[in-house]
């Protein structure tokens, strides 16, 4: 008896989950749509007209996500819901696309261009979604929070502090070993974000570089200089964290530079396709 209650409560808990509800509703709608299209096909009707217009309105729904961002002052549900709708509409769009075209790769040039744009939009969207799911967690794990737009200022600030340490070191120790090492090697590192691709991959090349550069110079330094070197090392690690944020946050912004223009190109081709279909076939 208790087992039965556990199962029921488990099911209830599942259905309390909004995601499951949305996905279930979408799957049901898609099943109904596909069976309706089959019914039209079996009656020698033109199911592609229905599937085509459904796809068109789905694309418009997907596009409206961008408009939602412009209208942030209007309370049109949370962006979180819009993101979910965007994702589910996108995946549904892929399914309806194949139902509509019945082929992976069409024959005509303009349809091939349109299909390419569709695939590129979908793949870039999926890539973006994957990044949005993975990167924030990795950024949180880094232990710091940095606003992307302030990264240049952060880097400039670190660089300023590092150069200040070098000057202090030269003044107080009367040795330019560390200063020369900075000019010849470390300056390159502090100048701008480095190891971009390695950070995306989750590598530790930046840290290895720091350890290597600091270890190699350490043997030429006296104790006083080593104290300054240790201060530099702490700033270098901080800079490495900033680089990490720059790489990941940059990717989360950069993919939209591909996704949105391609989606707009797709929308224009879809409108062209709609016009041609109405002129030539319907």
């Amino acid at each position: 008896m208790s087992g039965k209650i556990d199962v029921l409560s488990h099911i209830k808990s599942i259905y309390k989950n909004t995601n499951v509800l949305i996905i279930s509703a979408t799957a049901l709608l898609l099943l109904l749509l596909i069976s309706y299209l089959r019914h039209i096909d079996n009656n020698l009707g033109k199911s592609e007209i229905i599937s085509g217009y459904t796809l068109f309105f789905l694309i418009l729904l997907l596009m409206s996500f961008r408009i939602r961002k412009y209208l942030s002052v209007i309370p049109l549900f949370k962006v979180q819901y819009w993101t979910k709708i965007h994702l589910i509409a996108g995946i549904s769009g892929v399914l309806i696309f194949f139902v509509h075209t019945e082929v992976l790769w069409p024959k005509g040039l303009y349809e091939q261009i349109m299909t390419s744009l569709f695939y590129m939009t979908v793949l870039s969207g999926l890539l973006g979604y994957i990044m949005q799911r993975i990167f924030p967690a990795r950024l949180t794990d880094s232990g710091i929070e940095i606003i992307f737009e302030r990264i240049p200022d952060q880097l400039a600030e670190i660089r300023k502090e590092v150069e200040s340490i070098i000057l202090d070191c030269t003044d107080n120790t009367k040795s330019d070993t560390l200063a020369r090492h900075y000019l010849e090697t470390l300056d390159w590192y502090f100048m701008r974000p480095r190891f971009f691709l390695n950070h995306i991959r989750g590598g530790r090349q930046g840290q290895h570089w720091i350890v290597h550069q600091f270890t190699s110079v350490k043997r030429y330094l006296n104790n006083a200089e080593i104290e300054y070197l240790n201060k530099l090392l702490m700033h270098a690690h901080s800079k490495n964290q900033v680089d990490f944020h720059y790489a990941l946050q940059g990717c989360m912004k950069a993919w939209l530079f591909f996704h949105i223009p391609v989606a707009i190109a797709l929308l224009i081709f879809v409108l062209w396709h709609l016009l041609l279909i109405n002129i030539y076939s319907v």
């Binding site: 089959r38 019914h39 096909d41 079996n42 009656n43 020698l44 009707g45 033109k46 082929v103 069409p106 024959k107 005509g108 040039l109 303009y110 349809e111 710091i144 929070e145 940095i146 606003i147 737009e149 302030r150 240049p152 200022d153 952060q154 880097l155 400039a156 600030e157 670190i158 660089r159 300023k160 100048m191 701008r192 974000p193 702490m234 700033h235 690690h237 901080s238 964290q241 900033v242 912004k253 939209l256 530079f257 949105i260 223009p261 391609v262 707009i264 190109a265 224009i268 081709f269 062209w272 016009l275 041609l276 109405n278 002129i279 030539y280 076939s281 319907v282």
Partner: protein, 624 residues
């Protein structure tokens, strides 16, 4: 080491999301100035601040987040002491993305506009509207006319081209410019159904989807589509296809009376028949073993494998029968069915007149001979006019020498034997007069070979007279019956035509002919909705059993009964072969083996045809 307080409200500028630009120094990884760019994208940080005059002095206005008031303070002329080169502000990410999108959109529209207008000089080119190559079968049709051969609005001016988007453009009607079907041409199966189905129409493109490349299959239709209307659910051939009907596929009577069972089991194998005079024993041996001895394997690509010609397969045994049975027009003394027609007398009337003959008055028969002896051509023309019918005098008496009949008639009036050369009279073909094989003096026609043209027109005329209602009313039924019996008599009939062609000459099967004598092989019943090709099957089915795998001889069947009936209908026909069973087909046509979908054997369209062919459409340049 990251001190976020350094970017607090008082220490740092607030990032302005509504601004289109950000400080250009940040692009060089330097700290952006506290002023930031102005709304037009100009640098706002060329000076540390904009000093403010209070009384006669200028004061530094640099806020705390910019470092606070500077020690130097403004210059005496009121300018800031901290001048620096102006930066080049850059677009913020959101604006940059918007610009990217805008440029992409403009490029795409430009490309569509540009390429859509490049083509054959008409408004719309084909590069950016062509959804793919036409199928091989259709690509030849549009070589000259182009897209407009199917899409009427293609060559229109811009306004009407765009306007076409708001009108109906179903191309089904243009399909009918080349294709023909049974009425209703756009109805389901081109067939007139009872009830709701008759009101439905279907667009051609619902099934035949073009522009999918040269190799595209335009005729595929799924089982589910068929099952939508066909009440009996059908998902696979093995379990759900109904058994073939009785008499399948030989439900229509043969026009030629050929008894397969008799020939294969008796005539070709029984020494009594094989060794008989005028029989081709070698052929009989071959024919008893191989169906292809008589059936033309070359036609295997079609629905049926037709029998070979008379000369190839029948002549060896049956030619002598044709040559041995003359068409007796008249005799010196006795009444014949044809003189009955000439004189309008039945046989009994002629016999009565003969009995009452008193030597002084001439009987009608004697009058006829006298007239023929006087002017045969005039007499025969008058008889021909009296009989009527569609055959001309020239056709009926082709090759007849009037002198021959004149001399024969003279001899017969004088009760003399007419003889122009003994055996020559018998061995030669065509019109003969004199003693025949029955030792009677007669005027007759002897066929030289199968399908003799004179014999054929006589056969057709004599059968036509019986069927022509106007003649039948005027003529005594007994006379016409005598003529009919003469033509169709299997044993004695002229040319032995009735032996094999009796059914073809007399059947009234509306479905297979239009009241015309049917001399040739009738072929299978026309099945608009099914197709079958022997070609791919011949060697796949058990080669050792050959055709017999499917066409099993039914020795018990009373094949001859149909041909013996006077008032027969198609339903009376009994085939020599057992009905073909579905079991043979399902040996191969089943899931995992050979196709079993509906269109494998069934046509959707009823009486599909073409009224235009490629050669008519393609216009070759005129020769110069």
């Amino acid at each position: 080491m990251i001190n976020e307080d350094k970017f607090g409200e008082e220490e740092s500028s607030y990032e302005r999301p509504e601004s289109n630009y950000k400080c250009g120094r940040s692009k060089l990884w330097n700290r952006s100035c506290w002023q930031g760019p102005d709304a037009n994208g100009a640098c706002g940080g060329a000076t540390g601040c904009n000093p403010q005059r209070r009384g006669d002095r200028f004061y530094c206005t640099r806020p705390k987040r910019g470092g606070g008031a500077c020690q130097e303070g403004p210059l005496p002329d009121g300018e800031c002491a901290h001048k620096r080169p102006a930066c080049v502000p850059v677009l913020i990410t959101r604006r940059l993305r918007g610009l990217f999108s805008l440029i992409t959109g403009v490029i795409v529209i430009a490309v569509i506009g540009l390429y859509a207008n490049i083509g054959d000089g008409k408004y719309v080119g084909t590069l950016l509207i062509d959804p793919g190559d036409l199928s091989g079968i259709h690509s030849g049709y549009t070589l000259e006319e182009g897209c407009v051969s199917c899409h009427a609005s293609h060559d229109d001016e811009l306004a009407s081209w765009l306007g076409a988007a708001f009108s109906t453009n179903d191309i089904s009607q243009t399909c009918l410019n080349c294709h023909t079907f049974h009425e209703p041409q756009l109805g389901p199966h081109n067939f007139i159904f009872e009830g709701e189905h008759s009101k439905k129409t279907a667009s051609c493109v619902a099934c035949h989807k073009e522009h999918r490349g040269k190799e595209a299959n335009l005729t595929f239709i799924s089982r589910q589509t068929c099952g939508n209307c066909h009440q009996k659910p059908f998902t696979n051939f093995v379990a759900e296809h109904p058994e073939f009907p009785d008499k399948f596929p030989s439900s229509v009577p043969n026009s030629i009376n050929f008894n397969h069972a008799k020939h294969l089991m008796v005539y070709f194998v029984d020494p009594k028949w094989v060794n008989k005079k005028n029989r081709d024993a070698k052929f009989a041996k071959l024919a008893s073993r191989q169906c292809t001895t008589c059936h033309a394997i070359e036609s295997a690509a079609g629905n049926e494998i037709k029998p070979k010609s008379f000369e190839q397969i029948c002549k060896g045994c049956h030619l002598h029968q044709i040559q041995g049975r003359d068409l007796i027009i008249l005799t010196s003394e006795a009444h014949t069915p044809i003189t009955g027609l000439f004189l309008g007398m039945t046989e009994s009337e002629a016999e009565d007149e003969e009995e009452e003959d008193d030597e002084e008055t001439l009987t009608k028969h004697e009058e006829m001979l006298a007239a023929l002896a006087d002017d045969p051509e005039k007499v025969l023309v008058s008889y021909h006019e009296k009989i009527g019918g569609s055959k001309s005098y020239v056709q009926l008496f082709s090759g007849l020498n009037p002198v021959l009949i004149k001399q024969a008639a003279k001899s017969w009036i004088n009760e003399e034997v007419f003889d122009i050369g003994g055996e020559m009279n018998i061995k030669h073909f065509g019109w003969l007069a004199g003693e025949d094989e029955n030792d009677e003096q007669s005027l007759r026609y002897k066929s030289a070979s199968h399908a003799d043209p004179v014999m054929k027109v006589w056969m057709e005329l004599l059968l036509e007279l019986e069927k022509d209602a106007s003649i039948a009313e005027e003529m005594d039924a007994e006379i016409l019956t005598a003529v009919r019996d003469l033509v169709l008599d299997k044993e004695e009939g002229p040319g032995a035509c009735g032996k094999c062609h009796g059914a073809g000459l007399t059947d009234q099967l509306e479905s297979v002919r239009e009241h015309k004598p049917e001399w040739g092989y009738r072929g299978h019943v026309k099945r608009s909705f099914t197709r079958y090709s022997h070609g791919p099957h011949i060697n796949l089915l058990d080669p050792s059993k050959n055709c017999v795998k499917c066409h099993k001889l039914d020795q018990e069947a009373d094949y001859a009964s149909y041909f013996k009936k006077a008032d027969r209908t198609a339903n009376d026909f009994v085939s020599n072969f057992s009905s073909i069973s579905k079991d043979i087909c399902i040996e191969c046509h089943r899931r995992g083996k050979v196709r079993e979908d509906c269109t494998m054997c069934h046509n959707y369209h009823n009486e599909a045809g073409k009224k235009r062919v490629f050669q008519e459409v393609k216009k070759y340049p005129a020769e110069t």
